[in-house]
Symmetry: C2
């Protein structure tokens, strides 16, 4: 018997899902609340459910923040996001926060049921459209690595030296130029990047902002 909890503020949707799931002979859904806060209160005094369906847009704490808190306290709970949002940021944030699945609200009741069973057998419920967004995220993070600043090749060399933790003198040695030249390049780099310390250049570079 799979115990299910629901966090959803729309009463109609919540009741519908709860009734449907509770009707199944391998599931039990006794807990349906409309905020993360309520669910946390509930969990303090009851056994945690096996699976939790959670909305993102909720009164009070957002569902995404809720995932983190609930997962930290009760890591064994599997959380499925059930929401209208299909933008990749929300999907990504949810999964990083610890959600095990992500379904859109137009998902049919039998599909929700199937997803929960999926989860029990080690899968992760996710519609092909959502999966696609996740995959897109992989590719984007791969491509967006080059915001192409207008640093010259030599300036980029110097930046790399800084990132490697080298002093001006060592950078000068590495490229066989004088330390004053290094200084000159660094001045120009600072101007172009609108910074004024080694530290900021290194930070920018490692954040992929160069």
């Amino acid at each position: 018997m799979i115990e299910i909890g629901i966090v959803e503020d729309n009463v109609k949707i919540r009741d519908l899902i709860q009734r449907y799931l509770d009707m199944q002979d391998n599931m039990s859904c006794k807990t349906a609340v409309d905020s993360v806060e309520e669910m946390l209160d509930y969990l303090k005094e009851h056994d945690p459910p096996d699976v939790m369906l959670m909305d993102i847009q909720l009164p009070g704490m957002s569902g995404i923040k809720g995932i983190g808190i609930i997962k930290k306290e009760y890591p064994e709970i599997e959380i499925i996001m059930l929401t209208i949002y299909h933008d990749s940021h929300k999907i990504f944030d949810s999964l990083v926060a610890g959600a095990s699945g992500y379904l859109l609200k137009h998902t049919s009741l039998p599909e929700i049921k199937e997803s929960i069973e999926n989860l029990a057998s080690g899968g992760a419920p996710m519609s092909p459209q959502i999966a696609r967004k996740v995959i897109q995220h992989f590719n984007e993070s791969k491509k967006e690595e080059k915001p192409e600043s207008d640093l010259t090749a030599r300036e980029q060399d110097i930046v790399n030296g800084l990132v490697d933790g080298l002093s001006y003198k060592l950078i000068a040695d590495r490229f066989d130029i004088s330390i004053d030249t290094v200084r000159a390049h660094i001045r120009n780099i600072y101007k172009k990047l609108h910074v004024n310390s080694k530290a900021e250049v290194i930070a920018k570079s490692l954040r992929g902002e160069i």
Copy 2:
């Protein structure tokens, strides 16, 4: 009509899939080869297919390497991995390389067909088990970000200040302590991290090594 190409070295499996797909009235599968190299040769002289099924373990170039090359030349081709490997590294590498879906070889023919149709409608074919692995990867990369150095809370504060590009003085102001205290903390941080410059601390931190 969806044009499909197959790269698979097991002749039995290849023929089976090819015949089945070609039999569908909305699909055409005329191209089935047993290596990436052959497929590249084929693509030079023919129109590219819309969707490509690809194995990982292949004679010559691996399927994962093949994805990258094919996607670079023909970015419009949607590639579905069809393989026996279900370890998260291969899955992850494939998706990063540009695959749009990932199916295990025990997937039934109708499911393969469905997956291809999925792809055409903007989804990403992925079994719940595979999706689970992908999600696990999110959580792992989240956890593995903290190789837990033994920096104290205060020391971590100071590091954050450095990463923000602040000078000692500004860090002192931010936490309302004296600049000499900042120095003291930095000394300890350097000892713990085995470095001896601001630059290295920032680099380590942004690389996730703290």
